[in-house]
């Protein structure tokens, strides 16, 4: 597994990228249904944060194309969540994860349909509450994105994941 470190770009917003309804976030099981429709300033900020992290990768000679869809939920320190995602061979995928607390330490990993860890490039940012992962699946199929948060913070954290392909 490889890892990169890139500067975190704060305060940048491309036209259209930041203007997205909070309702575009899918929610994980522990969240009550009512939370899926309430406007949450925290969630807006979180989505902005994760989108800002993606911006440097959406331009250049081999840009990723950001999907409008996203996932979100809440996670406790030391716990993990799995997101199911259908990926296609020959494409590259970039997933970003963010939580609000800058002291949080995150992990993001990809597993195939057999539960085996997939080789991927992990990207670290200036702040540890954002991380991302670049993978090029060898087979078309269902994969599992595993997100986890180390016990460096005490409080459960809201999280947001977005992805892009190329």
């Amino acid at each position: 597994m490889r890892a990169d470190r890139v500067p975190f770009l704060a305060g940048i917003c491309l036209a259209g990228v930041c203007v997205i309804s909070p309702f575009s976030f899918a929610q994980d099981k522990p969240i009550e249904p009512a939370e899926t429709v309430e406007v949450s300033p925290e969630l807006d900020d979180l989505k902005l944060l994760v989108q800002q992290s993606a911006l440097p990768y959406l331009t250049g000679s081999k840009p990723f194309v950001l999907r409008e869809a996203s996932w979100s939920g809440e996670i406790e320190p030391g716990k993990a969540r799995l997101i199911q995602v259908q990926l296609f061979k020959r494409n590259d995928y970039h997933f970003w994860l963010a939580v609000p607390d800058r002291k949080s330490s995150l992990n993001l990993n990809l597993y195939n349909g057999k539960g085996e860890l997939v080789e991927a490039k992990s990207v670290r940012y200036e702040t540890s509450n954002v991380t991302s992962l670049v993978a090029s699946p060898e087979e078309t199929g269902l994969y599992y994105l595993r997100l986890s948060m180390q016990s460096s913070v005490e409080e459960p954290q809201r999280w947001a994941v977005i992805y892009a392909y190329r």
Binding site: M1, V37, R90, S122, R146
Partner: protein, 265 residues
């Protein structure tokens, strides 16, 4: 090696070590304690087309179809049509067919009006038409995805969850039909791998079958259920790890029949 390069190497090494420690090499997907996020993001057609185009240029123009859309009071059918029309837009972009994309922009707005979400979609529909005029295909792709997501968000907001599922299903169906048709014309083992989606089809089938009966009224919805069941058996690799040409032809026929039925019902 200069200092910056050394520092960079240290960071890369440290990062790799950290990740190797933190990530289990294997997870038991049957572990009842796993918390799987109860939401799915359905791939959009261009995500799949992008992979196929890496095997060589495909002739997408033959998949562009100018269909007349006759609306009725069945909102479930309208939601399916909305998904299908957005997927038609992605196909038209792939074929770089300006007039077909403009038509998509207009139809998207008409269908959104019928679903009661026109005001949310209007700016995206206009951007699709404008982007097509300028041949700005990346921008049109973005706006099509935004249009789709905006409608899904609006439907969730209005607690029309069954329509969310149907818009997603319609979009997936349209993209799969075009993909299978292209592969039928120009079969390759590598390309047909893109149709290996058994888990996704199962999930779409299960989502559809759990919709309330009121959202599945009409003959065409019986056909949707049957076709999804059939596709679940077809859209998986066989023992030799491929999807045969015969299966591709059958997927193409099944999806085309269903799409025709939805438009014509």
């Amino acid at each position: 090696m200069n200092r910056a390069a050394v520092l960079s190497l240290i960071l890369v090494t440290a990062g790799s070590h950290l990740l190797a420690q933190d990530a289990p090499g294997r997870i038991n997907l049957n572990d009842p304690n796993l918390v799987i996020v109860d939401a799915s993001v359905i791939p959009i057609p261009v995500e799949i087309f992008a992979s196929l185009d890496k095997l060589g240029a495909q002739d997408w123009s033959k998949q562009v179809d100018a269909r007349e859309i006759r609306l009725d009071a069945n909102r479930s059918r309208t939601a399916m049509l909305f998904g299908l029309v957005v997927s038609d837009g992605f196909i038209a972009v792939q074929a770089q067919d300006k007039e077909a994309v403009r038509r998509t922009g207009r139809e998207v707005l008409r269908l959104a009006s019928s679903l009661g979400v026109a005001s949310s979609v209007e700016q995206h529909a206009n951007a699709i038409v404008a982007g097509a005029g300028q041949g700005d295909w990346p921008q049109v792709r973005k706006e099509l995805d935004r249009t789709r997501q905006t409608v899904l968000n609006k439907m969730s907001e209005l607690r029309d969850e069954e329509l969310v599922a149907l818009v997603s299903l319609g979009g997936w169906l349209g993209g799969t039909q075009a993909l299978a048709a292209v592969l039928k014309q120009n079969y390759s083992v590598e390309g047909s791998d893109l149709l290996n989606q058994p888990d996704l089809v199962k999930q779409l089938k299960d989502d559809f079958n759990t919709l309330p009966a009121r959202a599945r009224r009409g003959k065409v919805f019986e056909q949707i259920s049957q076709t999804l069941k059939h596709l679940e058996s077809l859209m998986r690799v066989d023992a030799s790890g491929i999807i045969s040409q015969g299966k591709v032809i059958e997927i193409s026929l099944s999806t085309k029949n269903l799409v025709d039925s939805i438009y014509e019902s």
